[in-house]
């Protein structure tokens, strides 16, 4: 009795269910009588189909031809044909029409080698390895049982400074070497997932949280990709990682408020600075304008006093000129002119015939008569206080 241990189904193969090598054991050997009965039955079937004599030979030839032609197969442009003869990998065919020995001698596996597959890790899709449209993959989902119940913790990663982040990432891969992919790993997809998780956790563990959250994300993804490819190459998995994308790196929900508050604080800082700068931008030009005004006013004043002085001395000089020509007359006339003006404005003129001037009168007279109280109340300059 043959014992087939760990005969895990090949992961990728168009006709994976065909097991030509599974020879029936000795216990299945039919008795000679049974053989005769079977032949009789076959004979009856053929007879009922109306096949006798020559017809039988034609029928046999037809069956033989069909059997031989069943070895024709087509490799699609996105596939590679892996030809197995008695289970041994003998050939790798490129796209096109090909022939192999018919069953049970040879069979062919047709993995899709150009298709880029996507494996979403972290987040809700964690345990449904995305094999987008790859119908040949059957394992993977079933082999990740440990940890499934802990999916809330599954995408948590510890950063280099012992903080925790939650990361979601996608691995894009395709088959690099179909033979290796098919025959070196019993569960290529699950292995890919394990290796991807392992490398992403390891890489994130080398970075501090701030770097993982912001500017170093691309670097982390690149490192993880390199590491993952290295691991897979060591397994000779025949898988090429085309890209690792770090989609989302967040602090855990429990602390996200604190992180957001840091962002707000950063904005607040910026705002405070902007406001202060707005204030400065408002104050300084005004001050400069005011300074300009003061300077202009001062120069205006300067011009003014100089001009007035010039004008005054001009008028003085003119008067002086006439005065020089007739000193007595001019000065007397000027005196009278001035007195004229003064007396015209004066409210009261008292002529004191005592000849002592106003000295005798002053004590008895109200100096101000309500006309200009302020001026009268003002103490005389130099008067004792």
């Amino acid at each position: 009795m043959d014992v087939r241990m760990e005969a895990v189904q090949p992961d990728a193969g168009a006709d994976a269910d065909a097991r030509p090598g599974a020879a029936p054991g000795p216990g299945a050997a039919p008795a000679p009588g049974a053989v005769a009965r079977a032949l009789q039955a076959l004979d009856n079937i053929l007879r009922s189909l109306g096949l006798e004599g020559k017809g039988r030979i034609v029928f046999g030839a037809f069956v033989l031809a069909a059997w031989i032609l069943s070895g024709i197969y087509r490799v699609e442009p996105d596939e590679q044909g892996i030809v197995l003869r008695f289970g041994k990998w003998v050939d790798t065919e490129e796209p096109g029409l090909h022939y192999h020995f018919p069953y049970p001698v040879s069979r062919v596996l047709l993995p899709k080698v150009t298709q880029v597959n996507e494996l979403q890790l972290g987040g809700s899709a964690e345990f449904a390895p995305g094999s987008t449209g790859n119908p040949t993959t059957t394992t993977g989902a079933g082999t990740t049982a440990p940890g499934t119940a802990r999916s809330d913790l599954a995408n948590q990663m510890v950063t280099g400074d012992e903080n925790i982040v939650i990361a979601e990432y996608v691995v894009f891969w395709r088959i690099k070497n179909a033979g290796e992919y098919l025959f070196h790993l019993s569960d290529p997809q699950a292995t890919l997932q394990m290796a991807a998780e392992s490398s992403m956790h390891a890489v994130i563990g080398e970075y501090p949280i701030q770097a993982a959250l912001s500017d170093k994300r691309q670097e982390i993804a690149d490192h993880a990709k390199e590491m993952l490819q290295r691991i897979l190459d060591r397994y000779q998995a025949g898988i090429l990682i085309t890209q690792v994308q770090l989609q989302r790196v967040d602090p855990p929900a429990a602390v996200i408020d604190a992180f957001n508050d840091v962002q707000r604080a950063r904005a607040d800082k910026e705002r405070a600075r902007n406001e202060a700068e707005a204030y400065a931008n408002d104050v300084l030009p005004r001050a400069r304008g005011e300074a300009d005004r003061m300077n202009e006013e001062a120069s205006a004043y300067k011009e003014q006093v100089v001009n007035v002085a010039r004008g005054e001395i001009q008028s003085f000089l003119s008067v002086y000129e006439t005065y020089r020509q007739a000193k007595d007359v001019t000065s007397w006339r000027m005196y009278l002119d001035s007195m004229d003006q003064l007396l015209r404005k004066s409210g009261k003129v008292i002529i004191d015939s005592s000849g002592k001037g106003g000295a005798g009168l002053v004590p008895y007279m109200p100096i101000a008569e309500g006309r200009d109280k302020g001026a009268a109340a003002a103490p005389a300059p130099g008067a004792p206080r």
């Binding site: 940890g147 292995t191 691991i231 604190a258 840091v262 003061m294 007195m339």
Partner: protein, 290 residues
């Protein structure tokens, strides 16, 4: 029995013999041939092979890398920090005979390997610090675990190809403490940022205020200087002109004052008839007569 029947029977017997003595080894398999209970050979070459019918039994083993995913384990590290570690391993049946003799079944192999990996993991991680695990030293640490596992699994006919830490998480009880620390760190940062904002704002505003004061006082200084210059210039002009005849200037200026400033105040005048102004008031035309 016709000769035809005889030939057919012989052909069938031959086919039966072929079925009983031929077997194929798949590309992903290897086989152990056991003759009446005694192992006689290992077939690693995939393809069609021959055995003795009825006597030989062929046991097939997977030749590919096989998965091993031990359950999550809580491990106390060298610095007494606890860590939930999940590893995965990939192994190969490298010696089917040894494998057949020592473990026989897949379940047995898995449980033994799991124990080997687990003990290696505990021993190694029990000596390292968390900080070492979270750095580039992780690689050498896992290498030690791998080497130990390889050595221990060798007698089972198994070659362990890789043991890797799939994830290493802090347990939920510790997570809370970490969260608190993360929170307080962020709060510190936020406070610092806001204070920095205040600092910046104050700096900028104070500088602006200072600049304004400087600008204005500068302007004041300049304008006062300019005004003084104007006054000085005016004085110079006056002095130059009036210096020609100071006595006349005195008179001229006094007249101006009488006429303008004094007259503006509408004064009450007390005049003496003896004054020069009123000399004609009392004397009439006496002075004019020769």
């Amino acid at each position: 029995m016709t000769p035809q029947r005889l030939a057919l029977g012989a052909a069938l017997a031959l086919a039966l013999l072929a079925v009983l003595s031929l077997y194929t080894v798949d590309q992903s398999e290897q086989a152990l041939v056991v003759r009446l209970g005694a192992p006689v050979g290992v077939v690693r070459d995939p393809g069609l092979h021959v055995k003795l019918p009825l006597v030989d039994t062929v046991i097939f083993y997977d030749s590919r890398l096989l998965p091993l995913e031990p359950p999550l384990e809580q491990i106390i590290l060298g610095d007494q920090k606890r860590l939930e570690v999940q590893v995965y391993a990939r192994y190969q049946i490298s010696d089917p005979l040894l494998y057949y003799q020592s473990v026989r079944t897949l379940e047995q192999a898995r449980s033994q390997l799991t124990q080997i990996v687990s003990s290696a993991l505990r021993r190694e991680l029990g000596q390292v610090m968390l900080s070492a695990l979270l750095s580039e030293e992780r690689r050498p640490i896992t290498d030690v675990i791998l080497n130990e596992t390889i050595a221990k699994a060798q007698p089972l006919g198994i070659t362990v190809r890789d043991v890797r830490i799939r994830r290493a998480d802090l347990p939920p009880e510790t997570s809370q403490a970490i969260y608190d620390r993360m929170k307080s760190e962020r709060q510190r940062q936020a406070k610092e940022l806001r204070a920095q904002g205040f600092e910046l704002a104050q700096q900028i505003q104070a500088r602006a205020d200072r600049d304004r004061t400087v600008i204005l006082s500068e302007a004041q200084r300049q304008s006062l200087t300019t005004r003084g210059q104007g006054d000085a210039e005016a004085n110079r002009i006056y002095a130059q002109a009036f210096g020609r005849d100071p006595r006349f200037f005195e008179f001229y200026r006094a007249m101006q004052t009488y006429r303008q400033a004094l007259a503006e105040s509408s004064p009450t005048l007390v005049l003496s008839p003896n004054s020069e102004l009123l000399k004609y008031f009392g004397n009439g035309t006496r002075d004019l007569r020769p």
